[in-house]
Subunit: 112 residues, 2 copies
DNA sequence: GACGCATATCGTTGATCTACGATAAGAAAA
DNA sequence: TTTTCTTATCGTAGATCAACGATATGCGTC
């Protein structure tokens, strides 16, 4: 009746569990980062920020068919994921890609 | 009053638009694929399918702390994204990664 | 044909997203 | 200090997600 293959719950107290835990950690992180760009508008924002060498402020809004508040909301999500950083520059705010995080995302996806 | 930079709506009838359109297309596709794995459970499923050389059926359910119906729902999402394929094998169904799609996802992310 | 197993689908509930307009907050300029 | 500009936040409405249990479906087996 028990036709489980080699790597199943039977040895749930050995390396299995450790492996599962690290998998979960990276799964969680990958899910978090991919979720950040799991919307066309946010992909677009990231592409925009990458296309310019330096940071950009609310021109992003001009480039998108969305209300300013909506863009701000998307930026918040990107910031919370760590993919994007924002720096205050006088009255406006400059956004730029967090290359470190982008690299991590790329690595996590590539390692799939 | 008009302080737009070089690449703005002013030349909205030239190459600008074409570029924007292709950007949108890839943005859309990238958003779709990343959204498919934008959940820990779905990342876990993908990792599981990749860890085995061949397809797997409902053992996935055993490996996850989720109800069968929930897992099935996640599988449906993965199938709809194209990242996963399912083949009927007698009474059960074998799932496997669609390598082509996974490659596309990797390329899209790497090209960011 | 009736049963058992594996999987999908339905229906529901609560949470979260997405989008917007309106408004607040902060800094420079008048 | 008041105004203006830029950005964030609030409040809201509708849509979608995530999870579950219950049920339907489809295929082998008795």
């Amino acid at each position: 009746m028990d036709k489980r293959p080699a790597n199943s719950k039977t040895k749930c107290c050995g390396e299995e569990v450790t492996l599962a835990l690290t998998q979960d950690a990276s799964a969680e992180q990958l899910a978090k980062l991919t979720w950040a760009i799991a919307h066309p508008a946010r992909v677009r924002i990231v592409q925009l920020l990458l296309s310019r060498t330096s940071c950009v402020c609310g021109e992003i809004v001009d480039q998108m068919p969305l209300a300013q508040s909506t863009v701000s909301q998307h930026l918040k999500i990107l910031k919370e994921s760590g993919l994007v950083k924002g720096e205050i520059d006088g009255p406006r705010i400059c956004y730029c890609i967090n290359q470190k995080m982008l690299k991590q995302l790329k690595r996590l996806v590539a390692d799939l």
